[in-house]
């Protein structure tokens, strides 16, 4: 008995703990008050879908007709990388760029690029930025008098900054310590990842085309001991070079190697970026656009949240009025179910959409089902003359097969829905499916433990009334 009560107490404590985590993690719940651990908790926010946060979703089809099949994966990876760098430069936090592979069985394989920009509603600018061909530039250090002038300009800027004057960067110094050359991505034939035969370190090999080899030879001859900075999409807000190797000697054959302390992954990324300068993806075709303004998203979100609150209250009222004591237990179990689900959304970073919230509210209704099954069964056993504990045990045991089998069919549905879905529908499938699993857990562990912990015995009239049901009947 004491073991059960201890267990029940433990579950209540854990539930309250998770509840507190949710409370602390949402600043809107405790307005101006400072609560302990809020900073830590707030690091894990809810992830809202575009229909709730407002933003743009763009789906592109990549034309890969001139790419060799074995290079497609790399091409798409570098494309993703390039676009990701661009949207990050656009100032969007939590932008999502992903590659999706379509078809393959009945239709030819197609590659899609899905770009989600929360908070952005300027479709025009987003489309323009994404649609541009990546631009790779090779730059060299400033030389002679130019260096002095540049240093002076920098000093002037620093002085301006200290004095609080507005900063005006002269156009000729916008490229930083480097100046443009005529060498760019069109002269680069390809970049390859190789491993040094003696040191086994990863190295990045560059192969220039014939014209590029000449330009590169001249450039390296003039800049021995100096740095060549390689930029990607500098104009689109990427002011840092992707690589800045130092020239050891003049390179005449059009083949260069960048060595350094790369991890294989870093080297691979660099290769992708270098190759994307002459990206073999011929064309990006915009297949679909979706924009939701931020106020509309906020309205949907608050309506969804309030629908959830009302839904939960109504279910709780029904449970208590109809099922009395077990109803109260069920409401406690339901509360634990809700905080558990909400924190799972946070921890797994599950994207919440309007459909997802609907799925969650629906799952609250369904979570009740397992409890109802158990209570009805327990009541039957009480009527047969079993004591409370005996009745609860029988009630759980007999309701279990129904709960298991019926939930498996819901899980099958959720899995297929997940496969069917676009991102908005996936939200529904995830919350729905997760809800079914978690509610099964909350009904068979939480409700059971709490019911066992109750201090009632026998099957007298008082006990039967407590465990009875209905609005007007006593038993």
């Amino acid at each position: 008995m004491w073991k059960t009560r201890l267990g029940a107490l433990l579950i209540l404590l854990i539930g309250s703990g998770i509840g507190y985590f949710l409370y602390a993690s949402e600043p809107s719940l405790h307005k101006d008050k400072v609560v302990p651990y809020e900073e830590k908790a707030q690091n894990i926010p809810f992830k809202l879908g575009l229909d709730l946060s407002g933003g743009v979703e763009l789906v592109y089809q990549a034309d890969l007709s001139s790419v060799k099949p074995e290079d497609i994966k790399n091409a798409m990876d570098s494309l993703r990388d390039v676009i990701e760098r661009r949207v990050n430069a656009f100032g969007v936090s939590e932008a999502i760029v992903q590659v999706e592979q379509k078809g393959g069985i009945t239709s030819p394989v197609e590659y899609r690029l899905i770009v989600e920009l929360p908070g952005v509603t300027d479709v025009k600018k987003a489309v323009e930025m994404i649609g541009q061909t990546p631009k790779l530039e090779f730059m060299i250090e400033r030389s002679g008098k130019d260096v002095e002038a540049y240093n002076k300009a920098i000093e002037k800027l620093k002085a301006d900054q200290e004095a609080g004057r507005p900063l005006v960067i002269p156009a000729e110094y916008i490229t930083g310590p480097y100046v443009a050359t005529e060498l760019n991505g069109r002269f680069l034939d390809r970049a390859v990842l190789e491993f040094d035969q003696t040191t086994r370190e990863p190295v990045v090999s560059l192969v220039f085309n014939k014209q590029g080899a000449d330009v590169f030879a001249q450039m390296t001859k003039d800049n021995v001991g100096k740095t060549i900075a390689i930029y990607l999409d500098r104009d689109l807000g990427n002011p840092e070079p992707i690589s800045a190797p130092v020239v050891r000697e003049a390179i005449l054959g059009g083949k260069a190697q960048i060595t350094g302390q790369f991890t294989p992954q870093e080297a691979k990324t660099l290769v992708g970026r270098l190759n994307s300068g002459a990206l073999p993806v011929d064309k990006l075709e915009l297949l679909s656009t979706q924009t939701i303004s931020a106020p509309l998203g906020a309205k949907s979100l608050s309506e969804g949240v309030w629908a959830g609150v009302w839904g939960i209250l109504i279910v709780a009222a029904f449970l208590i009025l109809w099922y009395r004591l077990p109803g109260i237990i069920a409401v406690v179990a339901l509360a634990i179910y809700i905080v558990l689900m909400l924190s799972l959304f946070k921890l797994f970073g599950i994207t919440l959409t309007a459909a997802g919230i609907a799925g969650f509210i629906l799952s609250v209704g369904m979570a009740v089902d397992a409890n109802i099954l158990i209570f009805e069964r327990t009541k039957e056993e009480l009527r047969k003359g079993h004591g409370v504990h005996e009745a609860i045990r029988e009630g759980f045991a007999r309701a279990w097969t129904s709960i298991r089998d019926s939930n498996i069919s819901s899980i099958i549905t959720a899995i297929i829905l997940f496969w069917f879905g676009t991102s908005l529908i996936k939200g529904f499938a995830l919350t729905f499916g997760l809800g079914v699993i978690v509610s099964m857990f909350s009904a068979i562990t939480v409700s059971r433990l709490l019911l066992y912990a109750l201090p009632f015995k026998g099957h007298g009239s008082f006990v039967r009334a407590l465990f009875g049901s209905g609005f007007f009947k006593i038993h």
Partner: protein, 291 residues
């Protein structure tokens, strides 16, 4: 149990429902939304809304003759057209800002025909897969129950009620002229899951009562099982329908139709699991005995 005794009347009500659904589908047809055929939808909000004719003229002038214009809410206008490119979208917004009526773009969505077609195929596959998955699972779950009715028949009856459960809401929605979009399919799939959920609870009780040999008369066993699970079925469905009602009345606009369809689906699903599925078992058993 009266449900078993008077099953013919409940079958008749179901058949009437099916006839209504078929009638509304054949006469009204599906109103397939842009999710499945491609197209664009834009919703703008005006400070003071211009007359609908003014907007229509402006759109025609800009080359959007086929655009469908609809009022929404107090100050919103929804325009539906074929799929648009980014340049066309800008032209459309420009045209909507007629005579400098101040307006704000609330949402825009454009779906190319390729994606629409793809979703259409996927929707069919998903519905088929759910049915197959559920039937296989049921046949498995009831594999040990073969007396007096073979276990696959439980699966077969569930399939029939499943089809019933989606046919009626589809009929109701075509009757109301509602648009069929991706969420519509999601709701249908969810209805299938929930309805089977309900049917399984009753079947499980029958399975148990058969094992316990409650009675040698099959109709009595079915009737008893129905009586024992009746309150649960109604209570669970009422809870879920209450919750769906809340989503319908208080929830976001985008999930209103969704919750309505689910509401109808749960209602029909509860009907079919109580008044169709188990009584059908009895009918099958009677047939079997005659043969």
């Amino acid at each position: 149990m009266f449900i078993v005794t008077y099953r013919k009347y409940f079958f008749a009500i179901a058949i009437l429902g099916v006839l209504f659904a078929l009638f509304s589908i054949t006469t009204k047809g599906f109103n397939v939304g842009m999710d499945f055929v491609g197209g664009s939808i834009i919703e703008v909000s005006y400070d003071t809304r211009p007359d609908i004719e003014v907007i229509k003229t402006a759109l025609t002038g800009a080359g959007f003759e086929n655009a469908r214009v609809q009022m929404a809410g107090e100050s919103d206008v929804i325009v539906k057209t074929t799929a648009l490119t980014e340049v066309q979208r800008q032209e459309l917004t420009k045209a909507l800002a007629v005579e400098n009526f101040a307006m704000e773009e609330k949402r825009f969505s454009s779906i190319g025909p390729t994606i629409g077609k793809e979703l259409r195929t996927k929707a069919w596959i998903a519905i088929t897969l759910v049915i197959i998955g559920i039937v296989l699972f049921l046949a498995f779950a009831f594999r040990k129950v073969s007396e007096p009715i073979a276990s696959w028949k439980y699966g077969a009856i569930t399939t029939v009620t499943l089809l019933f459960d989606i046919l009626i809401p589809v009929g109701a929605f075509t009757f109301l002229g509602k648009e069929i979009d991706a969420l519509f399919i999601v709701a249908l799939l969810a209805i299938m899951g929930l309805s089977v959920h309900d049917t399984i609870v009753v079947f499980d009780r029958i399975r148990e009562n058969l094992k316990l040999k409650v009675s040698n008369d099959f109709p009595t066993v079915v009737g008893k099982s129905l009586g024992q699970t009746f309150t649960r079925s109604i209570n669970t469905s009422v809870t879920i329908m209450l919750v769906l009602g809340v989503i319908f009345f208080f929830g976001p606009a985008s999930t209103k139709d969704f919750s309505l369809l689910l509401w109808i689906g749960i209602f029909v699903g509860t009907y079919s699991s109580i008044f169709l599925a188990s009584p059908l078992l009895v009918t099958l058993e009677k047939r079997q005995n005659k043969a």
